[in-house]
């Protein structure tokens, strides 16, 4: 059972300082992120209208969010008309209660799961376990994480921090039917997972999924995947329960023409992912339940700057280009949403009450690479800066800023301060003493000129 991130101690600087000491982790991450970066760049470069698709994707999401109430009501109508059942959940606890109730009503005690960020966010597996229901992850990477009693560290590839040798060890230790002669060839590891899950797929009566998109106009849900475990879960069980964030709705069927181009190329760097399934209500006689999840999303929506984070389609392109993520890894963010998007989404969804969440807006060098690759043009640096202003600041920092404001707001005070600094410049140490050393531990103190530009201009001009 993979552990939950909720209530994780520490803060980003401490977590990342520990992570960068792990040379195996840094090697695995560097190799993986550079591979996928190259693939993404090449398939995005193939499309002459990428920027036009990106502009359309951004606008469709913004328009949806502007009228989210209307589209959700429409979705409820279309899903219900097609034989599905719609449930609403204000928070994680309510969503977990609904899902557990639905599973119990079937009389089953096991569910198979398709990889889903929303169900990880609400800690569904743990909540089901508390009710005596076992949830089996079926995505290969999720299986690796679950068997290894580990945390996911990437949105798309949750086991990106593990290399093939480590995965082999986990399978041999924890998978009861792993072949004894298992090698660390990726094909052999994939085959072991296929055999391990095959019977479970054919036997399971209930599946739990998320969705990449929901179409209000038609009531259609869409799941993109690679392995076929998604198709197994979505197709074979008699009951399907999908837990989906309210921001995943799209107004029209036609809108998929944009997102089915943006998402695969941005996430796995392929022209198209191997499998995409779409279904509308009760497909082929299946009992279908949709749980619409808020869990903090309406708080994000209320923030004029931060609400753009709800455009996110969870492609993870921003993780793969981020210099901070590449070095720190996903666990340092202490959330199912790591990387640049996590640094703006987690503090907004959970608030900045914990030390960890308040440190996330600083988990960035503001280089802007994330904004450049984002398929829905989320200006992540803009939101980071806005969140930094809103984050709690210490008394000393607030006092320092008040003094700085007092000096900088008045010409005469600034000139006096500059002259004083110029005269005392030889006395200023290269590293500041006491608590101020936190600043100079990682930065050089800028050199103070003998004479300020203003004074020079007065004299020479």
């Amino acid at each position: 059972m993979s552990a939950t991130f909720l209530g994780m101690p520490g803060n980003f600087p401490k977590n990342s300082a520990r992570a960068v000491q792990d040379s195996q982790l840094r090697y695995n991450l560097r190799k993986a992120t550079h591979t996928i970066r190259g693939k993404r760049a090449s398939v995005v470069g193939e499309l002459p209208d990428w920027q036009e698709l990106r502009a359309a994707g951004k606008a469709i999401k913004d328009e949806t969010l502007r009228h989210l109430d209307r589209y959700l009501v429409q979705l409820e109508e279309t899903v219900t008309a097609a034989g599905g059942h719609v449930h609403w959940a204000r928070d994680a606890a309510e969503a977990n209660r609904i899902v557990a109730g639905l599973v119990k009503a079937t009389g089953e005690r096991e569910v198979v799961k398709v990889k889903s960020m929303a169900t990880q966010e609400i800690g569904l597996n743990e909540a089901l376990a508390a009710e005596g229901i076992t949830a089996y992850e079926t995505d290969l990477a999720e299986l690796i994480v679950q068997l290894g009693d580990d945390f996911p560290s990437h949105i798309l590839v949750p086991a990106i921090h593990r290399n093939r040798a480590e995965i082999r060890e986990i399978f041999l230790d924890r998978m009861d039917d792993a072949p004894p002669g298992l090698t660390d060839e990726p094909a052999a590891l994939a085959e072991a997972a296929r055999v391990h899950l095959r019977e479970r797929f054919l036997r399971s009566k209930v599946a739990v999924s998320g969705a990449n998109f929901m179409v209000a106009e038609t009531g259609t849900l869409v799941v993109l995947e690679s392995e076929g475990n998604g198709r197994m879960c979505l197709t074979l069980p008699e009951t399907l329960i999908s837990v989906v964030g309210i921001e995943k709705v799209l107004p029209t069927w036609r809108d998929l023409e944009v997102f089915l181009q943006l998402l695969p190329r941005s996430s796995t760097g392929e022209r198209m992912n191997p499998y995409t399934s779409t279904w509308t209500g009760s497909a082929e006689g299946q009992d279908f339940h949709l749980v619409l999840l808020d869990n903090g999303r309406t708080d994000v929506l209320a923030d004029e700057v931060g609400r753009q984070a709800l455009r996110c389609i969870r492609c993870s392109a921003c993780l793969n280009v981020c210099p901070v993520y590449e070095r720190a890894g996903g666990h340092a963010y202490g959330s199912v949403y790591p990387g640049p998007i996590g640094a703006i989404l987690t503090p907004q969804l959970r608030g900045m009450g914990s030390e960890l969440d308040a440190s996330l807006p600083y988990a960035s060098s503001l280089c802007g690479a994330c904004y450049d690759v984002c398929p829905v043009a989320i200006d992540i640096p803009e939101v980071l800066v806005d969140l930094r202003a809103k984050a709690p600041h210490g008394a000393a920092e607030r006092a320092g800023m008040r003094v700085a404001g007092w000096v900088l707001n008045d010409q005469a005070r600034l000139a006096a301060a500059q002259r004083a600094a110029g005269r005392l410049r030889r006395l200023v140490p290269r590293r500041l003493p006491g608590p101020l050393s936190a600043w100079t531990d990682t930065r050089d103190l800028p050199g103070i000129p003998e004479e300020s530009f203003r004074d020079w201009w007065e004299r020479e001009g």
Partner: protein, 196 residues
């Protein structure tokens, strides 16, 4: 309880977006793509996913299917054109997907740019389980079913039907981001493109 959650969430949304600006959607991307040779492009792109591809004149499709299928026990979905049904080899004929060696189908639409086949469970395409459980999938694509890009495919498809978009065999990139073909879906995808 569920009812009040619904009203709570809708009320919170209305408060959150109150006064937010309206948004225009610019659709300046390509809705019809240019391609001189749709069959050639589709064949190349499907091949890039390491699927097996043949381009065959329509009249030769039955003989080619028979040759490809050989003695395999294939699932034959309802409505498959008579000529596409593999001939009576030992054990051939309609089979249970759970014990069959493979499945032979047609498709609803194919996309050249992305090398994608879309099944909509219509005649000759089988149920979703029939095209998922067997380890081998032979799919016949008529040249007139191939469109250039994703937007043309979306406009041709019926959202009321369950759709499966297939781009190559089942694959994973979960181990060091290396693509490995063959996890839970059919490990071999063979595509026969029938030209007039």
């Amino acid at each position: 309880m569920s009812r009040s959650a619904r009203e709570d969430i809708l009320a919170r949304i209305r408060r959150a977006v109150d006064g937010a600006p309206e948004v225009e959607i610019p659709r300046r991307y390509r809705v019809t793509a240019e391609a001189d040779d749709l069959v050639g492009l589709f064949a190349e792109r499907v091949g890039d996913y390491r699927a097996i591809v043949h381009v065959v004149p329509e009249a030769e499709v039955p003989a080619r299917i028979a040759a490809i299928v050989g003695g395999r026990r294939m699932v034959v979905p309802d409505g498959l054109p008579a000529g596409w049904t593999p001939p009576d080899a030992p054990g051939a004929g309609p089979a249970d997907p759970y014990t069959a060696d493979g499945v032979v189908t047609g498709c609803a639409v194919a996309i050249a740019e992305t090398g994608t086949i879309v099944l909509d469970t219509g005649p000759g395409q089988g149920s979703r389980a029939q095209t998922l459980v067997p380890d081998y999938h032979l799919c016949v694509v008529r040249a007139d079913q191939i469109v250039a890009g994703v937007p043309e495919a979306v406009s041709r498809l019926d959202p009321a039907r369950p759709l499966t978009w297939i781009s190559g065999p089942s694959a994973t990139s979960d181990i060091e981001l290396n693509r490995v073909e063959g996890v839970h879906g059919p490990r071999t995808l063979e595509v026969l493109i029938a030209t007039p």
